[in-house]
Point group: C2
Chain length 113, copies 2
DNA sequence: GATGTATTCAACTGACTGGTTGAATACGAA
DNA sequence: TTCGTATTCAACCAGTCAGTTGAATACATC
């Protein structure tokens, strides 16, 4: 059951922990781009960016296609959804618990927006 | 302008990149806990967990109170919101762009669920 | 086939990180 | 004051990671 589901989530969090990779994701949200295009804004070598993209790919955050010698990179929004799902899960558990605590301390306000 | 706003976001992403720290966040969503309580489920030393909590605190993901010699840790859901806000921002930009591309290629389906 | 461009592979390096153990601090209880 | 518990500080170590440069691969064009 769920062989590497946890692994994928972990890789996604690790991938977004790097500011360069987050910048790449931000750029890709506006459309696919090649490695060179993605490297241009950053003061690091193209090779380094290539490896960043590989990390994002392993995390399922991006996919790649072929176009002659180019390898355009595309955002894979499902992986981003998995991340927000994880975060929201615990955020909502916390919030729900908080509300019921409020209700406990202040029983008159049981039905509040 | 926004002195360390970026820094806070970065620390939050880095903090959640570690599975132990994510487990701590998950546990705290069900209510505050002491360092010892948080360390119990993990096969590492209490000192190590103490440092994990410190990282979470620096990222603004948790806060701490005093109770005699205990230092209960509480979840700070606003930081989690900042994370989802970042992710959703680019996820939505991507999705919006995708829809308008669809409409361009297939102009008849302008109003689809 | 030779050249140029886009990308990746390989080997190396310095910095950071997560773990350890041992000592220190803070506080309540006896 | 002494003892026990909770937590943190400090020094150390091994592994990981992001960057580098140089060589290799893949493809289009000349």
């Amino acid at each position: 059951m769920e062989p590497d589901e946890d692994d994928r989530l972990d890789r996604a969090f690790v991938a977004l922990a790097d500011p360069v990779r987050r910048a790449i994701v931000a750029r890709l949200s506006r459309g696919p781009a090649t490695v060179n295009e993605l490297a241009a804004p950053h003061p690091i070598s193209v090779q380094a960016v290539s490896r960043h993209i590989h990390v994002l790919e392993e995390a399922g955050l991006v996919t790649r296609t072929r176009d002659a010698q180019r390898r355009p990179v595309h955002l894979a929004p499902e992986a981003l959804e998995r991340l927000t799902a994880w975060i929201d899960r615990y955020r909502l558990i916390h919030e729900r618990r908080f509300r019921s605590l409020d209700a406990l301390l202040d029983p008159d306000e049981k039905d509040r927006p």
